[in-house]
Amino acid sequence: MFQLVIDRRLNGKNRSAVNRERFLRRYKAQVKEAVARAVKGRSITDMENGESVSIPVKDISEPTIGHGRGGVWESVHPGNEQYTKGDLIDRPKGGGGGSGKGKASNQGEGEDDFVFELSREEFMQYFFEDLELPNLVKTYLAPTHEMKTVRAGFTSEGTPSNIHVVRSMKGAIARRIALASPLVQELKRLQEELERIRLDPADRSEEIRRLEEEIHHLRGRILRIPYLDPFDLRYINRVKQPRPTNQAVMFCLMDVSGSMDEARKDMAKRFFILLYLFLTRAYEKIEVVFIRHHTQASEVDEEEFFHSRESGGTVVSSALKLMLEIIEKRYPTNEWNIYAAQASDGENWDDDSSICSELLIDKIMPLLQYYAYIEITDAPEQNLWHEYTRVKERHRFFAMQRIKSPADIYPVFRELFKKQQHSHAA
């Protein structure tokens, strides 16, 4: 028997998903280009939104055989107002007088680009394609004390807030039935007997009184069966299970001395945001620590980090020291994946740069998954850069790049995190 009205709203959702994916796959080059362009032009706050991608119509057209413009066409149109037979009309501009009924417009003027929206997921996918987090292995597999609570059946003891009502009531019903049914049967038997005796013409008031008493007594017993007994109560049981760490902390270090102007800070911010977004793809939980420094370093919140302005000199090691301190205090390395990104204009007290590199090589780098240093400047390289080059030679997961304009941010980012084929060879 077939059904007349069928509600299809719940099934077959997103049926075109495969076709959409096929489409994106075919135009991957254009999509990637659009994503790269979007990253350059965008403000950071909407980095996580989708993006519209435009592809020239001629690239996505499906050719078919048709008539082109020219030759003889004779066509019928509605709405004649003034013409009579034999009238001559000027050709309308840009068309063959409606001949071919718009077929010609497939090739001629009016070629708009085909624009469509990438969803946020798709955008991020293309955005971070071919990139990977280096040195992910270590803490990923390490056992930790992180616990997860999971449901594990029911218990008969627990806190009132965990009472499972349905389960408890089921138990109560079963108990009531089990306890009451022999009594009810007995009651029924006595009542029947009482009926029988009452119909007896002989005087049996004694027996009647006795039976009535018994019935009264039985009714009382049935009523006294408790509706809900503490014995019935069942509680939801929860147990704790250990789970592997999947959390990271990201340190953002930035020079806020007078030489870092708004434009440079903005570039730094974009870089940090990229790193943050990238980390969100690998880790469930991410904490961000902002450390800014001039001659002294301090931990601040995001707002202050990006917007307040200081002046004065620069001592980079102050920030590194503070970072080390915070790691030791709050982020034990067996529980946390630690990333750090440092942005600076490359200026530093001459004496301080060597301290920085010592600190990094000996103390900090062994604790970290990855350290990215970006120098936002177009000036020649200074001593900090040279010192950091030494660090890079010692540690594989130390990376450094120079950024001159906002347009460099994305390429530099890609360069830093691009997949390394040989990374597992060792």
Binding site: I6, W73, K85
Partner: protein, 521 residues
């Protein structure tokens, strides 16, 4: 089997019930409910039966806007194989829908048995009733009755066939890789319009048969192809009796069919994919031939059925106002002077003609009696049924377009000859022009006029295996600029050089394209 499920079983009871309800219209809130749809449907079915509409059983499916866009993208079918172009169409539809540039069509109806009509969740109750009348009774009866659909499509097996096609193509994707299949489909799609038989009746599509016979066919085909391209010398007596002129001996119009049977290097699975595209093209062939009639018929019936219900007192005024507004939008024909004029609206022309036929039957004028002696004053239901069953757009217009309608629509005919500076008005809606305008309008709906006439002409079977197609020019009309692109696709299927010759009416070669097969690395 017609839809009788919701018609009350006993006529006496029905009549009493109907009279009782006549005073009280059906509720018409803007929100629909399943109960209301059932109720409206029952009334519409009753009226449709009274007008003797013969339909496949109906199945109404409620879907969301997104699902409607899905259905749009896969050319209106409830399922289809996967291809990037469907993704493209989905994105295009989605974009214009989101921006509000375009309302989604109220309905999609599938020529299947049972006939599936989609009702969009967002529609108001009025719209749902309109769609039910339009699709489930208008289009449905057209699918069942019109000779082209009866000849060329098999409503009972199309869904099965699509399931088969999708599974087969995904299987190929798994076995030979998505890219290979996608390329092949691209090429087939480019030639889809040249994958139909116009004069032969195709086999019925049946899932069981298709599955059972596929392997057999593949083997057989391959052996045939091998025979054709055999390099061993033929036996002497064969050689003397034949003097090969051309292969194929007769020009062939179905290019995809020719490829499927004769392309030398295609593998069996590739032939099957070509066949699938060809079969689906064939299924849509009648629709392309009957757009005006089909839409006109459906519009005429939703209009007639709902007005009948209104006359019976079953529909509220609010319902009618909303309905008439939608109806008017659908059948609006902008005049040629309007900036948004995009040619003749098939809904408008079709609806006007259907309404006009009824008028000619019921209230013929002297003019009608002169022009349509056979139908003037006849039973309108029978005449319209006859027209619906036995015509396609071209012949329908040639037969039934009346002078009155030409005057009402102010139709006129413009000649655009690229060898002349100006356009010429060759006929208008007056006594001397009626026949000419009608003839030209009918011609306009002749598919073989609208599409270039291209046929498989020759294969160089003794030499380089070059395939030659011939385009017979109609009134000096050239081929479009995309032709070389299409030839590339054809070469990809044929695997050898492909040549296309444009020949004018005198048989003189006007232009030729040649496309070598480029092997991709």
């Amino acid at each position: 089997m017609t839809e009788t499920v919701h018609l009350p079983a006993q006529p006496e009871q029905t009549r009493r019930k109907r009279r009782a309800r006549t005073r009280r219209p059906l509720p018409s809130p803007s929100e629909w409910t399943f109960e209301l749809i059932d109720e409206y449907h029952a009334e519409i079915a009753r009226v449709a039966e009274r007008y003797k509409l013969d339909t496949y059983p109906n199945q109404l499916e409620i879907i969301t806007a997104e699902q409607m866009m899905d259905a749009y993208a896969s050319v209106g079918m409830p399922m289809n194989y996967h291809h990037w172009s469907f993704g493209k169409h989905f994105l295009m539809t989605e974009k214009s829908y989101r921006r509000g540039q375009m309302g989604l069509a109220y309905e999609i109806v599938i020529n299947s048995d049972p006939c599936i009509a989609y009702l969009m969740e967002e529609n108001t109750m009025t719209m749902q009733a309109l769609v039910i009348a339009h699709a489930s009774y208008g289009h449905n009866s057209f699918f069942k009755g019109n000779y082209l659909f009866r000849t060329w499509t098999d409503a009972s097996s199309i869904i099965d066939y699509l399931v088969y096609a999708r599974n087969y193509i995904s299987e190929c994707e798994e076995r030979y890789g998505v890219d290979q299949v996608e390329e092949l489909l691209d090429s087939c799609h480019a030639l889809m319009n040249y994958g139909v038989d116009r004069y032969k009746r195709p086999y019925k599509l049946s899932l069981a048969q298709e599955e059972a016979r596929r392997r057999e066919r593949e083997e057989y085909l391959q052996s045939q192809v091998n025979e054709l391209w055999r390099t061993l010398p033929k036996r002497a007596e064969e050689h003397t009796e034949q003097e090969p002129k051309r292969f194929p001996p007769e020009p062939q119009e179905n290019i995809l069919y020719f490829i499927e049977k004769n392309a030398p290097l295609l593998e069996p699975w590739q032939r099957e994919v070509v066949r699938i595209v060809r079969k689906i093209a064939q299924y849509f062939y009648p629709q392309r031939h009957t757009q005006v009639m089909n839409e006109g018929w459906a519009c005429f019936w939703h209009y007639t059925i709902l007005n009948t219900l209104y006359d019976e007192g079953l529909l509220s005024d609010a319902f009618m106002l909303e309905f008439i507004q939608s109806h008017t939008n659908v059948i609006y024909q902008p005049p040629v002077t309007a900036p948004w004029y995009r040619g003749i609206n098939p809904y408008a022309l079709g609806f006007n003609m259907m309404t006009d036929i009824r008028r000619i039957c019921e209230h013929p004028t002297e003019e009608d009696k002169r022009w349509f002696p056979d139908i003037a004053g006849s039973n309108w239901l029978e005449t319209m049924d006859f027209a619906m069953r036995n015509f396609k757009d071209e012949s329908f217009i040639a037969q039934f377009l009346s002078p009155k309608l030409m005057r009402d629509m102010r139709l006129f005919c413009v000649l655009d000859d690229d060898s002349r500076d100006k356009l010429e008005v060759t006929a208008i809606h007056d006594d001397s022009g009626y026949r000419y305008v009608r003839e030209k309008l009918a011609e306009q709906y002749n598919l073989s006029q609208r599409e270039p006439n291209i046929q498989v002409w020759d294969v160089d079977i003794h030499g380089h295996r070059r395939l030659t197609l011939r385009h017979l020019q109609t009134r000096r009309r050239p081929l479009s600029d995309t032709t070389p692109e299409v030839l590339k696709h054809l070469a990809r299927l044929w695997r050898f050089t492909v040549r296309l010759e444009s020949v004018d009416a005198q048989g003189v070669l006007v232009r030729a394209w040649e496309c070598p097969y480029e092997k991709r690395v």
